[in-house]
Homo-oligomer: 348 residues x 2
Amino acid sequence: MANGGVGEEVRNKQVLFRDYVTGFPKESDMYVTTGTINLRVPEGSNSVLVKNLYLSCDPVMRVRMARVTFSGFSSYTPGSPLTGLGVAKVLDSGHPDFKAGDLVWGVTGWEEYSLLSGIESLRKIQHTDAPLSYYTGLLGMPGMTAYAGFYEVCTPKSGEYVFISAASGAVGQLVGQFAKLLGCYVVGSAGSKEKVDLLKSKLGFDDAFNYKEEHDLDAALKRYFPEGIDIYFENVGGKTLDVVLLNMRVHGRIAVCGMISQYNLDETEGVKNLTCLIYKRIHMRGFTVRDYYHLYPKFLETVMPYIREGKVVYVEDRAEGLESAPAALVGLFSGRNVGKQVVVVARE
Amino acid sequence: MANGGVGEEVRNKQVLFRDYVTGFPKESDMYVTTGTINLRVPEGSNSVLVKNLYLSCDPVMRVRMARVTFSGFSSYTPGSPLTGLGVAKVLDSGHPDFKAGDLVWGVTGWEEYSLLSGIESLRKIQHTDAPLSYYTGLLGMPGMTAYAGFYEVCTPKSGEYVFISAASGAVGQLVGQFAKLLGCYVVGSAGSKEKVDLLKSKLGFDDAFNYKEEHDLDAALKRYFPEGIDIYFENVGGKTLDVVLLNMRVHGRIAVCGMISQYNLDETEGVKNLTCLIYKRIHMRGFTVRDYYHLYPKFLETVMPYIREGKVVYVEDRAEGLESAPAALVGLFSGRNVGKQVVVVARE
């Protein structure tokens, strides 16, 4: 506990944000440095001192790299460590809800050790019979996003036709598995042969295609969905959305989870086929996971048995060490990662 | 009743469709001619023979003028009369649900007399203490559209900020009045000073503006909605939608009723600000009235007292005679009409 006294001063490797970004982020928009940190929480503070184990690379971090975000997310501060979701171990705590030794997940810094003062997002990890890194993915924000987005936003029914873009990503791979478990027909798009193979073999999608090899996306969608699409789980935006609109069925639903193709553009692409919303009476609904965290206990109740029974699997792309973090984050936007991109800072 | 025998053969003035339209429709895309019609229903037929009284000019008719519609609506047939919604009086009937003398509204021909074989859309008019022409507007499809669109699609709450485009039109003027009755703050946009005055005086909107005089629509919306927009009732699409997206509040709702600005374009305008759907968790929902006609009795129960008590008023723009019908229809797309555009074919 944080009962005063001077704690051990240790070296603390950090990934700092260099300056505001326009266009695609580059590794050089961040830099790795080493500072020091005291491993005790200051006396009288209700902060928590953690050792970071796994850091999550999420598309929304690009949004926070812009000078102005419009998004409700704050911009990063040049010269300060990036922050994001991660898994950590509590070393010292001034807060009654946490004690040394607790494993937690939530917002932390891109560094070896973090003194966390804003701990609203921190959750204690109860189930340790799954890999701890899953709390950056399957059991964390992306998992909860997939769960809420599919079951709450898409209002799915067995037998419906489901299309998922960025389907092998942190969220997409789970939406597809949830949809299959419900009895839907599921097709995903991804950006490489390796990802497409993964979707069809390991992740159990009915079909999948490499969008980079489909010069006529409309024709591709008509081939995979001759009856049209009931549910589109939107992760990419732009041209893909435009063509999907033409292929939606009457009373279709579009859950707008992300638009990763648009985050790096100075001027976003125009979507032209919105009149389809009327003729086809389409429900298009943007959502963010923060409106659904009250469902987290129910989510764990649903998904932990699936994991134990092997009914849901999860593909991670692990980058080893903080030095590899900038490249891992940047790689999200070129689709370099295969599965959920995690940075391994330390193993417990 | 249709018990054989040769009925009276009369002259029948008609508005025929000339040929498929691209771009803005012109009066010359239609022509007026005179044929003949027998005022008896053929023996053994279950058709209904009507005298048309009022014809409705609706934006969706432009969609039907295209060779290919994508919309679920069939194209008009060159050389045949246009069809659309109207109010008519039954002169002869082979159908047990209708008898001579009944007043009806539903799909009919753009002509003086119509022999209607497809009568699924015909409804008997029960309440005649409102102007009969209202069954092309307030008490017909546009009224039902406003009712379903506002109460069912927008899920409105008292005190919310409501923006309506094409606000003096057949649907918009009612949405605004419904929203005021619920206790919302309501601003409408329209395309002339006359319409803006109408919105503010006769129709009881809190405020209104002429979009043609606002060179910076974003600034205008920020002026009228400093707190942002909870509900946008979309009638126009394109650039307006794009700017509205920037001004929506978190958990806002967009009911997509129409996109009249887009129907005459060879290539529709791209909407660029759709990422707002995510950050602001916006519900955007296309709808058409056909999914809601089961609510028509409830709608009449709600709206007839409002009419009788003067709580809901309705502005019509009446064109006299079938000869004026092509100009009236074309005028919809330049915003020439002030209020619901009706063509008076005959008074009972």
